[in-house]
């Protein structure tokens, strides 16, 4: 209601052609799409793994931490080599025992499937199907002790303070 007396008269708004408006919108859209395509082409960066990064403090005093070469007597060196050989021999036995076990399992499965096939084709086909009730599955490692009787767990919370990347 209050009119200012020294103001310029308001300019008349030019009626833009709807085509011009459309053209402008299209141009803006194309520009955006081009920028998006450019950014998408550049390779994404992998998140760094904390456990594999060397802490900066350690990198700084690297020279202090560097150890000098120790001289070992030839008997000591030889006994170390022999120990290494013993360990290699032992691990070889363990690994080949495991391989034999894998062989046995695969062979028996193969035989069982063959027999099943001879028995009935239907059951064989059903046995072979992809089973999505089996995966996803979760397996927990064994525990050190059996469950403690009348154990009262402490109350508390887990707060997730890991770095957020949003």
């Amino acid at each position: 209601m209050v009119e200012s007396y020294r103001a310029e008269p308001l300019k008349k708004k030019k009626r833009l052609d709807p085509q011009v408006i459309k053209a402008r919108e299209e141009r803006r859209k194309k520009k955006l799409e081009k920028q998006i395509r450019k950014l998408e082409k550049t390779a994404k960066q992998l998140k760094p793994l904390e456990e594999l990064d060397v802490p900066v403090a350690i990198v700084d005093n690297y020279n202090e931490r560097l150890r000098k070469e120790i001289k070992i007597s030839p008997e000591e060196e030889e006994s170390r080599w022999l120990l290494q050989k013993d360990w290699t021999r032992y691990m070889f036995k363990v690994n080949s025992a495991e391989l034999r076990m894998i062989d046995r399992i695969l062979a028996s499965q193969h035989k069982a499937l063959e027999e099943l096939r001879n028995e009935s084709e239907e059951l064989y086909q059903a046995a072979i199907q992809l089973d999505f009730s089996y995966i996803p599955c979760q397996i927990k490692g064994p525990v050190e002790t059996p469950p403690i009787k009348d154990f009262v767990a402490a109350e508390g919370d887990f707060h997730d303070i890991s770095r957020k990347w949003e």
Binding site: E25, R28, K29, L32, E33, I36, L39, E40, K44, Q45, L46, K47, L49, E50, E51, K85, R89, F92, N95, S96, E98, L99, R100, I102, D103, I105, L106, A107, Q109, H110, L113, A127, I128, Q129, L130, D131, F132, Y134, I135, P136, C137, Q138, I139, K140, G141, P142, V143, E144, A154, E155, G156, D157, F158, H159, D160, I161, S162, R163, W165, E166
Partner: protein, 198 residues
């Protein structure tokens, strides 16, 4: 199967004065198809069979799973990494095709222990839950349960393992989200929405 488990029996039978010498040249001479990369670790005779073209042929009609991720998580990093390495190696020995293996950033947890019957904090601990993944491709339906059982038999204490099919969000988590890209995309979406409204 019998012909080539004989290979392994021969290898083990060779015992010279305390040292087990395995002649790589022997295996190579047998078929020449065992490439040096396969020899990095021993493999079951099923795998050797494939390389040499011997043994019973595997049924081509058995359906294959696409991509399966084996995700191992644990609080103790040294044990976890050894186990992830074991999973990878076992997958190779059993004859599965390992496409990729990666690590996801750890979750840092602040665990607060409250005093009994109150909300005041008694102690708090900082724990980190580390994670490693191994991806296997083209697993036959009959082979997967065997593999999972073998790995399950030697899972160490304190480690949890999940076997699930691969989803796009599993790769998404590994990468730093590009904020600029996100902004531009939301802008574009807004423009499109306003156009539709008109």
């Amino acid at each position: 199967m019998q012909a080539t488990s004989g290979i392994i029996r021969n290898l083990l039978g060779r015992k010279s004065k305390g040292l087990l010498t395995v002649k790589i040249s022997e295996i190579k001479a047998l078929g020449g198809a065992v490439s040096t990369s396969n020899w990095r670790h021993f493999q079951s005779s099923a795998v050797l069979n494939e390389g040499l073209g011997l043994g019973e042929p595997t049924d081509p009609e058995v359906p294959l799973y696409d991509a399966i991720n084996i995700q191992v998580k644990g609080y103790d990093f040294a044990i976890l990494e050894k186990f992830a390495k074991y999973v990878h190696n076992t997958a190779d020995r059993v004859g599965l095709e390992v496409e990729d293996s990666w690590g996801t950033p750890c979750k840092n947890l602040k665990v607060t222990k409250l005093k009994p019957e109150s909300t005041s904090v008694e102690t708090d601990y900082l724990l980190s839950l580390y994670e490693r993944n191994v991806q296997i491709v083209n697993v036959s339906a009959s082979l997967l349960p065997i593999f999972v059982n073998i790995v399950e038999a030697s899972i160490p204490a304190g480690v949890t393992m999940r076997v699930h099919p691969h989803l796009p969000e599993h790769t998404e988590i590994r990468y730093v989200p590009d904020l600029q890209l996100k902004e531009l995309k939301t802008q574009l979406q807004d423009m499109r929405d306003s156009k539709e409204k008109k």
